[in-house]
Symmetry: C5
Subunit: 253 residues, 5 copies
């Protein structure tokens, strides 16, 4: 068993991945939250009790709220980030935490966002290249958020473009790649094929009705993806534990 398998087995359960992400405070701002879920304790409690295989957060949340998740759900430490105040034309996400910090905080994986096709993709590719090398040295797997974005990207939602981003994640050394669902099982199958041995998971996306969301989850799983990284569809839900249960039924069936 390779070093990184030890950690990878924590965020991959029965071959499936189900991550709860709460980096929206950084990426989107408080607009994504209400009076209840603006409190990280509320969301971390869902992550801890909802049977997730990973919790994706920034280091500030990780260090201030250790007792809320530690030993309850594996940590996927996001190492880069940006706000959405800066327009996406030249989109770039800079590294804000180190692999060593992830190790120190007890993370079982690191998370990194790559905006494929951005005028600044070169900077992100270089920085992720070093992060992946160091993570490998520590035996930590890498979960890559791979999004085609920036002024040169014609259609962020086209299956071919998303498949390109997923392939880039594979070639740069990701273990798991999170993509936006391209809207069809057929399209997602292309993405999964392009990613090869890099496991594909789908973003949950913005809040939908339970029925719409669960239908999408079924399609994701039908395409050969191994799971999802969800956020708003769970913690914006009035009954997060219930939707988490239904989600797991589909993912682990």
């Amino acid at each position: 068993m390779k070093d990184r398998e030890v950690h990878l087995r924590k965020i991959v359960r029965d071959g499936k991945v189900l991550i709860l992400a709460m980096d929206q405070g950084m990426e989107h701002g408080p607009v994504d939250f209400n009076a209840r879920n603006i409190n990280p304790e509320y969301v971390l409690d869902i992550a801890s009790k909802g049977g997730f295989t990973g919790l994706a957060i920034q280091k500030g949340i990780a260090r201030h709220y250790k007792e809320c998740y530690s030993g309850k759900v594996p940590l996927v430490l996001k190492l880069n980030g940006r706000t959405n105040i800066v327009p996406k034309d030249e989109i770039y996400s800079s590294q804000v935490a180190s692999v060593k910090e992830a190790v120190k905080l007890g993370a079982d994986a690191i998370g990194y966002t790559l905006y494929v096709g951005s005028p600044r993709e070169a900077d992100m590719f270089r920085e992720f290249g070093k992060v992946q090398e160091e993570a490998e040295d520590y035996g930590l797997p890498c979960v890559v958020w791979a999004y085609p974005r920036g002024r040169f990207v014609q259609d962020e939602k086209s299956a071919d473009t998303i498949a390109y981003a997923a392939r880039v994640a594979l070639e740069l050394g990701a273990d798991v790649v999170k993509v936006n669902y391209p809207g069809s099982v057929e399209g997602m199958k292309k993405v999964v094929a392009a990613a090869g041995r890099c496991k594909v998971i789908s973003a949950g996306g913005s809040k939908q009705s339970d029925a719409e969301f669960l239908a999408k989850v079924r399609d994701v799983m039908a395409s050969g993806a191994v799971g999802l990284a969800v956020g708003r569809n769970v913690w914006q839900n009035d009954n997060p534990m219930k939707i988490a249960e239904e989600l797991k039924k589909i993912v682990y069936k």
Copy 2:
């Protein structure tokens, strides 16, 4: 008790924070000063005798005036800075002192400014990420000046935008975040909620009448913030010790 608690307890007294800031010579220029307070000795004397829990200055002031504050008031060393001659469209504050220098000068916290939403936020996020990591290693807490600013920011004073900046400070690992007061208790409550376990303090802002200033202080405290970082409203005041007394009455009541 975590390492940084040792230091944090010095700048947080009874759960409250009251910092005197004198970095205006760098940030605004001599225009903020008169013949009396242009002399750092005058301001440092107020900091030492006024019962403040911290003194925020640049390293040049810290090293030239050690005997004026050392052992009298905890030092919050500002690690980055800029002049206001350069317009704020692409606002950026570069690192000018290291965490090691802060340790050497006996600081109990470091101070760092983040212009959230600036075209150069990525540079500041990356640099602060490293500073926070190193400060953590030395057990030094981080006080972040979080200001939404730059050509992409629609309204620097909106509560939602200020709350976004405060959330970014939390996610990047700040222990205390200093924000501009958004103008209403309701707005400030949003900011405090968004900052979670990161303590919120309000900037004092430009000089007001004593009555106006103290009314604002009352509102700040009513919103759940833990204190203020003040400057001009104290050392531009004709009777700085008197206003400091009144300020403490409200903050510590």
Copy 3:
């Protein structure tokens, strides 16, 4: 025998070089692949059984598919890369893997792309300079993909311009330089002369008919080049082992 000869002798057999490249997923995207060859296992199997002297891939492929090529075909690890979503006006390929990673993965050579004449050639020259120095320390030879490209390049296909790029590769320390075939034996002879003791190989280029492709290979070999780095003309071929056989007959004759 110099250190690097040990490794160089693995990718140069009887004075000839025949590399199978599969970095198109990164450089061109999934558009280059079909349902069969999108799977790296399929292509790596061709590389392993087809008698190639090297396999050029990115580190993500190398680490995920070790058992598919290891001990079967020498590894040429590509250390930089880009997507073709970003236009080529200011073309730049950033470093995404280190020489140390190449050593760790058991590579016998490193691969590096230089876009000669690009507005950003200076960055690539500097980065390759360091890579070559470190590779030399480890005894690893360097294969340079030398392409004149970017808004200042009048004609990417002119023999003189390609010869310039090949000469740059020689002067910067390449052991093998891969160029695009300039379209004539006479032109390729100029390129070979300009490259001096740096061995020249030709890119295979986009998919052609077998006859056209093999005619080109004959011309390449007639010009004094020592071989090719092929990709699409082999693994897009319906019968890759057959074309590989015919290719070797010409190269090794």
Copy 4:
């Protein structure tokens, strides 16, 4: 006595500073010189015999002409520089020598230029921040050339703007700040006040008649500044030793 006092006492004599600067070959070009003073030996001889407390030169002069000044006049090694061929809109002076080189060459202080208000002030602030930290570690004081300059600076000669630059030098850790004389004793007093415990010296400026120059020196000293850093008004003078004598009479009176 602090470490840096040992060195500071060499360039500050009886509380006064009188530096001879010869970095004009770099900053202005040979146009500042005639057939006699183009020879560094001529100028270094004046520095050695004229009773100056410091000689400000670049490392190339320092290493080629050691025997002309060593043991005769303290060395203030300039660590950054630029030519005036590049326009001043985005003015920047890059670091060209290290603190370690200054130590090795036996310098008693380092010299650094900051163009306050330049679009690139952030780069210079960051670089000087590190230089000052390292100089402190070696016990070497810092003399800062603080000039408001670049396209955002309305009036380089206004006392308020010069006072701002002097304050920045203080806050960033300078021990001595060299400014351009703002044209009046009153203006210079503002500058001296803004600089606090950082000692202020005036540039000599371009060549004037002896009478004009000495009148200016009297005004400089009357304002509370501790001396000057002169160049052209001494070594362009037909009788440099005589003007140096008169200069000292005013400075040390």
Copy 5:
């Protein structure tokens, strides 16, 4: 005797310097070569037998052709380079080899190009500053190619501008500076005066008739320069050994 004198004495013979340069393959491309001299062996043979005091080449040539020059002519390793495909408006030459590589290859000096007055002079000044410091540590002298160039340079050939570039080389620590001949003995005397103790040599320039070239060489030597760095006028010459002989007669007379 200083450390660097050991090496300097190899490239300076009887006070004179005569370097054969073959970096034109990088700087100008194959257009400078014919079928014979495109082969580095041909040019290195001239360098070895022609009585030159130095051979200026890039590291790729140095490592591939060691036996052609080693022990026969001192090596001046060029550490930076560029192609002329990129226009000279913002001219910049990036570092492509290290001082350590020069030491390892047995060089007796390093060569570095500075485009004085370029919008990017600051980058070259900073990089050369570090190179010179490290070369000093190894006892290696620095030969600087100092060319005024880029969109801010009015007249690259004016004696005053060339003298400025030579002075910059002196101030930054060069031991030998190579300049373009300004067209007159009087002009070159200005350059030599501005360079002080930094020895001045003239570029050979583009190919001229033997008579014209030798007349220029006589003028160069009459101006106080100590020699030349030649290339095309020797190895493009039909009888390179003959012109080398005539050249030496003038330089060493």
